[in-house]
């Protein structure tokens, strides 16, 4: 971490991070808009396999709500990030809260605990779902497999970097 002054992260780095965040939020907004568009237009040009009754209505409602929520959430985040960049006091407080090592460690531990718990729940789901629904069972199994691969790959990559 670059140092400026007594002991502070460079302001420019934080600003760069904020601007990247705004860009990511704009992309999420577009994704949300795409989901809304797809929910309204899918019947015309997006074939979907329906194995259950009520599937068509589900697709419309699900992607409409998901898309709208993504758009709303990304707009709120863009507004908050821009406000932070404009207000020096807010920017300083946010920068401190993000760079604080204890906060970072808490964040990492939260992700780790959630990851472990999620993995366990997925595994339990795989064990139980086989007796309930084949499709659900396969989807959960695939999710567990992807999770395990991601875990292994990230361990390799991060292990080599550190």
């Amino acid at each position: 971490m670059k140092q400026n002054g007594l002991f502070s992260e460079q302001e420019r780095e934080f600003e760069k991070r904020c601007r990247r965040r705004i860009l990511a939020q704009k992309l999420l907004f577009l994704l949300g808009a795409l989901a809304v568009f797809a929910s309204l237009m899918y019947e015309k040009w997006m074939p979907v396999l329906f194995l259950e009754p009520g599937g068509r209505e589900y697709v419309t409602e699900f992607y409409l709500v998901l898309g709208a929520a993504l758009m709303a959430a990304s707009l709120v985040q863009i507004y908050r990030t821009r406000r932070c960049l404009r207000d020096p006091e807010l920017k300083k407080a946010k920068q401190l809260a993000e760079s604080d090592e204890r906060n970072r460690l808490i964040g990492l531990k939260c992700w780790a605990v959630s990851g472990y718990a999620m993995f366990l729940l997925l595994y339990l789901g795989v064990l139980v779902s086989g007796f309930v629904n084949m499709t659900v069972s396969r989807v959960l199994l695939a999710t567990v497999a992807v999770f395990a691969v991601l875990l292994g790959v990230s361990r390799l990559v991060i292990g080599r970097r550190m």
């Binding site: 002991f7 502070s8 401190l96 090592e101």
Partner: protein, 68 residues
């Protein structure tokens, strides 16, 4: 790990907020350090020691027996 942060801070009449700002952490982190709930990283320990004009060993009390 025990430390003398609170003792040194009070001696010099420094507020937790001021120390936090000087070393680049939140006030909550200083509180956690003083309560012994959180152990500072090497970088933070160095920053705090440098702020007080002392060595790391003079601020942070490492007890090898306790760590075992």
């Amino acid at each position: 790990m025990e430390n003398r942060i609170q003792e040194l801070r009070k001696e010099r009449r420094i507020r937790q907020e001021d120390l936090a700002e000087a070393v680049g952490v939140t006030r909550q982190t200083i509180i956690s350090l003083e309560n012994g709930r959180y152990n500072a990283s090497l970088l933070l320990a160095h920053r705090i020691a440098a702020y007080f004009g002392l060595t790391i060993e003079e601020v942070f009390l490492f007890d090898e027996e306790e760590q075992r």
